[in-house]
Every structure is written in structure tokens, then in C-alpha cells.
Subunit: 192 residues, 2 copies
């Protein structure tokens, strides 16, 4: 792979999306996040919201889990995995870019020119951040974070057979709450 790709995995609410976008701006390369979802919409026919949830999170609750049973063959989630896998490989072949989430770190793991980044921060920092970014909900921000973390880790584990957030899976991991978003952008862009 001649192109250079940065994959940004992140805990929900840690600012990984913002960091990915700002790194891409700094380096003058595209950042795929919502754009990636649009590409999956075009190739799959699934709705964007469905892709946003099912393409990165394990189903929540027994009812959803039953609907995604594999006894009947590949699930929609499995089909989505294949489509997003192919799109991510195509993107990496086509151009240098930043890709946020969607297990891109795992999908591109054997590519030499891929920098794998993981962004996390404390529950307090993230809770404050998601309320500011997305507003209040019926359930507490801590509950929303715990639920998202669990489901994202389960999804990652299922499709990659690796542990999400294990330092050894990444070239660099950063605590965006303690180091600050600006510093994280500087470090990641500096490594490119």
C-alpha cells in the first residue's frame, strides 16, 4: 500500500471524531467518518442510522440479539461487515486518508503504511463532553457511555477476535481528557 492511512479508534465521547477530522485538515487529506457511512448506504441499501448503529455496535438487549441470530445464516450485521470491509480496503488503496472507527485498524492491520491510533478518556471527561455535544437524555450520560462502550467492545471482539482498547493493538493510544484535544492532534499529525 503506497498511501498512508491513519485509523482512529475511540471511546464514545472521547473526541476521537474531532481529533481525526482535525488531523486530516492539518495534513490536507480526507477524513472518512460520516462519509464512510454514506458510501455504505450507497453499496448496501441500508439506512444511515441503521449502519451507524449496527456497523459498529453489538445488538443491545435479548430481542435485538434474537433478530441477529446466526442460526439462519449470515445476519444483516455480517453483510454490513463485508461491505464496510471492502469499502475501507478500497479507500486505503485509492488515497491517503484518516478513517474513524468501524474496525478500520483491524481491517488494515497488515498494511505497512497504516498508523493505528486509539483515543480514550475518563468517564467524567466523556460524560461532560457528550452532554455538551449531544444534549441530555432520559438516561444518565454515564449509563449511555457504559452501554456504548460495552456494545462497541463486544462488536470489536466478535469481528476481530481481538480486545478493544488493548494498548498492543495500536501504534499509539492517547488520553484526550488529560492531554487535551490540541495536543493529541499535534502528536498524531506529527507522526504522519
Amino acid at each position: 500500500m503506497k498511501n498512508r492511512v491513519i485509523t482512529v479508534s475511540r471511546e464514545f465521547g472521547s473526541g476521537g471524531h474531532t481529533i481525526g477530522r482535525r488531523v486530516a485538515e492539518r495534513l490536507n487529506i480526507p477524513c472518512y467518518d460520516n462519509e464512510l457511512i454514506q458510501k455504505i448506504v450507497e453499496h448496501s441499501g441500508f439506512m444511515a442510522d441503521y449502519i451507524r448503529e449496527e456497523g459498529e455496535y453489538a445488538p443491545s438487549g435479548w430481542f435485538a440479539a434474537t433478530l441477529s441470530s446466526r442460526r439462519m445464516g449470515p445476519t444483516n450485521q455480517d453483510r454490513l461487515w463485508v461491505i464496510q470491509h471492502n469499502i475501507i480496503c478500497d479507500l486505503a488503496e485509492k488515497e491517503s486518508c484518516v478513517i474513524v472507527g468501524r474496525c478500520a485498524d483491524y481491517i488494515l492491520r497488515d498494511k505497512a503504511n497504516c498508523l493505528r491510533v486509539f483515543i480514550h478518556s475518563s468517564m467524567e471527561h466523556r460524560a461532560e463532553r457528550i452532554v455538551k455535544e449531544y444534549g441530555e437524555r432520559d438516561i444518565s450520560p454515564e449509563q449511555r457511555l457504559t452501554d456504548k462502550d460495552k456494545r462497541r467492545a463486544a462488536y470489536y471482539r466478535f469481528y476481530t477476535d481481538m480486545k478493544w482498547g488493548r494498548a498492543q493493538n495500536y501504534h499509539i493510544t492517547l488520553d484526550s481528557g488529560e492531554l487535551g484535544i490540541d495536543k493529541c492532534v499535534d502528536i498524531v499529525a506529527g507522526l504522519y
Copy 2:
């Protein structure tokens, strides 16, 4: 805590020791690694080699495990833990410094001015490095690394109740094999 402390946790053979020492030189502050062991010798009366092994690794094999049984009260390892805990807290109170290994990241976890770093690299990189640094042994470098990793993780788990190498435990984790020792030194010193 007014002093600024950098703790460097590391996989065996990843170059964490070298990175810690070079960061300290760059910042003109002391680095505690072998010096820490000397301090523990003075306070405990244990031999340096014993401290080197027992103060960071879980016992290996059933015979050693039996000798360190807690049914008879605190083990030598427990005594060592208390001594090294107190010495590390004293150092952090006394001066800005770099501390390599010995669960210093956990011991100083509630101190505001502490930067927690974890250094790792792939089995191949580390195997090559330990043969170059410490020479060949009867058992393969991969076996030595696996043994050391396992025992260090078990020790860390026992005394801190946290998972060793989990990204969320550190402000920054770096793959020294992929990024290079020089780059790691630049980034860590730059965060001080």
C-alpha cells in the same frame, strides 16, 4: 504534588528503560530504575537480584508459588511491595523525575502531576532486541518474553487489581518498534 513525575511501564525488551533514561536526560531530571532498586536494597536488606525479580514479577513455577503462600501471613513479596510503594511516594514528593517500572503508574495514580506512559512492541522486535542487549540463552527469546510478560501481568494484576497494558490506564502508550525509540523520546519529553 508540585513535582512532575513521568512513570514508564513497559513490556520486557521494548526499550522502555532506554526511553525513560533518555527522556530524563533530555529534561535534566533523574531517572529511577536501577537507582530505585539500590534504594530498596538499603531499606529492605534484600539482595538486588531478588528485588529485581520479586518486586516486579509473580513467582514462576509451583515451588516458588508455594514459598510465597499467604496462608502464613504477608510474604517477602508483600513486604517488598510496601517498601517500594513508600520509596516511590517519597521520590515523587521530593523531586521531579522519571520512574521506570515497579507499578509506579498505579502507586502515583492519584497525583495530579504524573504522566503515565506505557511502551510496548511486537514479539519480533523485542526478540531481536533482547538477543542484541542480553545475548542468547538456552531458551528461545520468544519463550523468555512470554514468560516475563505473563509474570509481570500477574504481578501487576495482583497488587493493583488492574489490567496491565490496558490503554485506559495510561495517558499515552507507544509502540516503540514501529515508531522508533527516538520518536518515542521526542513525544514523551514533549508532553512534560
